[in-house]
């Protein structure tokens, strides 16, 4: 537990954007047969640099808030930290069990029941069947969905879905918690519950990385903050200097 850490060194991520046409085999075959005549416009994919030379070091107890405009690379960074992307340059190293709460609908099958979805999502999050069964009661209770757990997810409201997803996702024994702005789901009661559970989790977790546009929320959960702009990161600053970073916009 003590060596929970996130270490990102000189991370650069480029996304090749394959145009709709570029996915067609014909275009590629045409390129081969016609040789270079089609010109540069059709060769290869355009690349978007999503993150550029980013450095980040976090240790147990760090709770980092990510701020930045839409498309500044916050979600990309979170996904990269969850291990979905291979860097083009640099390196990402995360020690500790990662729990990523990036997408509520991940692994959710709308036609399956709540209980089935808890099992499925738990499996995807890396829990064993036994772990899930052990935690089933706790998850069910926290979700507050009661008899609805035996109903298909498609009968749930968005808020109920969020409750369930949140309950499962936060049931994981995580050392590193990655969150994309979405804790603000559910009604007021649930938000209070969620808040308590999150604080609890964060205390246990060691590291939290939270992306948000809500300064109040960031002050509540984070002790450090970093600003992303066009894939370039600012220095990591103390949360008390959040206004400074916001003003820099």
């Amino acid at each position: 537990m003590t060596d929970v850490s996130i270490k990102v060194t000189d991370l650069t991520l480029r996304f090749p954007v394959y145009g709709v046409d570029a996915k067609s085999l014909k275009k590629n075959l045409a390129r081969v047969t016609v040789g270079g005549r089609l010109g540069a416009s059709t060769t290869g994919a355009t690349e978007v640099t999503a993150l550029s030379h980013l450095n980040l070091n976090l240790r147990a107890g760090d709770r980092l808030g990510l701020i930045g405009h839409n498309g500044s690379g916050k979600t990309t960074l979170l996904r990269a930290l969850s291990g979905a992307y291979e860097p083009d340059e640099g390196q990402i190293e995360v020690r500790g069990r990662i729990a990523a709460l990036l997408d509520l609908s991940l692994g959710i099958d709308p036609s399956a029941t709540g209980v089935d979805n808890i099992r499925l999502r738990g499996r995807i999050a890396g829990m064993s069947s036994k772990e899930i069964e052990d935690k089933m009661d706790e998850i069910a209770e926290f979700s507050g969905l009661g008899p609805f757990l035996a109903m298909p997810m498609k009968t749930y409201s968005a808020g109920m879905q969020a409750r369930l997803a949140f309950a499962v996702a936060t049931a994981v024994e995580a050392d590193v918690l990655l969150m994309d702005e979405w804790i603000s789901v559910g009604d007021a009661d649930f938000q209070k519950l969620a808040h308590r559970r999150l604080l609890n989790l964060v205390e246990r977790a060691g590291i939290l990385v939270l992306s948000s546009h809500d300064a109040g929320l960031l002050r509540l959960y984070c002790n450090k903050v970093m600003r992303l702009e066009g894939g370039v990161a600012s220095e990591v600053k103390d949360i008390r200097r959040l206004d400074e970073l916001l003003a820099a916009a």
Binding site: L11, S24, I124
Partner: protein, 277 residues
Amino acid sequence: MESGQHMLRTGRRGTLFEFSMALRDLVTSYHRRGLAWSLAWHDVVSRYRGSILGPFWITISMGLMVLGIGLLYAKLFGISVAEFMPYVAMGIVFFGLMAGTINEGCETFVQASSMLSQTSLPMFTFIWRTVLRNLINLAHHAVIIVAVIIFFGLWQVMDVLPAMGGLLLTIINLAWISMLVAIASARFRDIPQFVMSVMQFAIFMTPVFWKPDAFPDRHAFLTLNPFYHMLTTIRAPLLGQEADGLSYVILAIMAVLGWALTFSVFAITRRRIVHFL
């Protein structure tokens, strides 16, 4: 290394490194084989949710086809039903496994795009998911096989061991084909259509509904068709005949070469696949 406790992603390149990362993906998928199984099982359950007979509907439709074709073609070709019906039954069921695993392979990564783009799950997990799902379906359709074996008394003559060997070799080969089309389909969206056409063509070019007696032994038309070898190594022993040893050899060579090719393609494209989606 990837124990869930330690995650390392680097921009390091180099052929050897890419291969070792691809290998790590494979090893991780083995450690988390329970997940592939859960996903496959969930796929089957969810596809047929609310239906009483579930996957047995496909079994029933296959059974009807077996009955119809078995009776009609036996008459047309002038072969006895007792000889032709089990032949067609096994042909349809096992070709169903081949077509299913390969056709659904096209969707493997495309369907898993949301999971691949926000988790560090091994990519091989999704390959196993497709293969396992088709094996679960096969287990349902096996009812037809068991029925013809009992009804036509094949249990007296059949030789299970070589058939199992043939099935194993077939599955190993189907897995790499499935993975290869999965990668190709992620990149080029024409591939699924292409694969479907090929498989449709293959069902008529492979002795599924007809007997290859018209061809001399080891005729190129049969020898060059991989599906012929897959089918014959499973079916012939179950019918109490001996499959040509050459077919087993060809399947084994194909498995080795095919996996070498597929694994290389995977090693090279691995870091790009998530961006294809």
